[in-house]
Amino acid sequence: MNDDGLDPLIHVPTRLKIVATLAALPDGDTLSFTRLQDMIGLTPGNLIIHLRKLEDADYLTSEKTKNGTVSITTVALTGQGRAALDAYTKALRDLLGGL
């Protein structure tokens, strides 16, 4: 945690966008890697780096499934990731005196 109480894993523009985008889905829904990439506007390599950091912290899960010759990767925010975003949002509110 930073001195200002902001989670350093989330307090990065790209990762904040990833987490906020996934949090807009109802709990339990997953999003394909390609749709997430399209919404965030990152290169696949750059997105993978950020997803891996979030996955290492158990903020999201990813799953790769094979459909014939095509493999599809889906990602979803975990309960821990959702709680981390809630805590981050609260910390921002406290810092800014209400969003």
Binding site: V12, K17, L25, G28, R35
Partner: protein
């Protein structure tokens, strides 16, 4: 936007202040909710106005009929075209919003089967009423009752209470039409569905889905 330098700078404790973070969080959340919205407010409002125009126009042609003969031959293709266009637009927008999304936001095969069966049941009910020469067979609102209840039931099982209320409201419009007479039921259907759809649009715009 240079994502590499952006992420590197921020990872190293760069210049991403809380105010910027709050703005980005608000923007991203709003954009994502809009993009994932299967029934966006603009579509709901457009459908509401269109259904009022289509059914209101038919009411204007049938209200002076004594005895009631129903929509004219010219009205029927317009009505069918409106229903097909409405259905196609709804499905297309929903599919676009749900692209890449899997999980409970998507209807299961069983839920789709229940909803499809409700329309078949409505058609069977209308045919049975017509065969029995019951006037309700000619009320446009009669067809709303079973699909409205089915929608409410499916959404109640999914604990989507807002959508459940929409289904019950559509059913209420269907029941209200039974008391309006053959011609009046067209007006009840037009106004009732318009109110439901525009109301749904207003609520969705005011408080998007989580």
């Amino acid at each position: 936007m240079n994502h590499t330098s952006d992420s590197t700078a921020a990872d190293n404790g760069g210049t991403f202040d809380p105010q910027q973070a709050a703005t980005l969080l608000g923007q991203t959340t709003g954009q994502a909710r809009r993009k994932f919205q299967p029934s966006p407010p603009w579509l709901l409002a457009t459908r509401g106005i269109a259904v009022l125009a289509a059914l209101g126009a038919i009411w204007l042609t049938v209200r002076g009929q004594h005895p009631y003969r129903g929509p004219t031959a010219a009205d029927v293709p317009v009505l069918i075209g409106f229903i097909v266009l409405n259905f196609a637009a709804t499905v297309a927008v929903r599919e676009r919003a749900m692209a890449g999304v899997s999980g409970r936001s998507r209807f299961s095969q069983g839920e789709i089967a229940v909803l499809a069966a409700s329309w078949v049941a409505a058609a069977v009910l209308i045919a049975a009423l017509a065969a029995a020469k019951v006037s309700y067979a000619h009320y446009p609102t009669t067809v709303l009752i079973i699909p409205g209840l089915a929608w409410a039931a499916v959404e109640a099982v999914r604990a989507e209470w807002r959508e459940c209320v929409i289904g019950l409201a559509v059913t209420a419009v269907g029941v209200a039409g039974l008391f309006a007479g053959s011609a009046g039921s067209w007006l009840v259907a037009g106004v009732g569905l318009c109110v439901v759809l525009v109301g749904h649009a207003a609520v969705t715009a005011w408080r998007p889905r989580a």
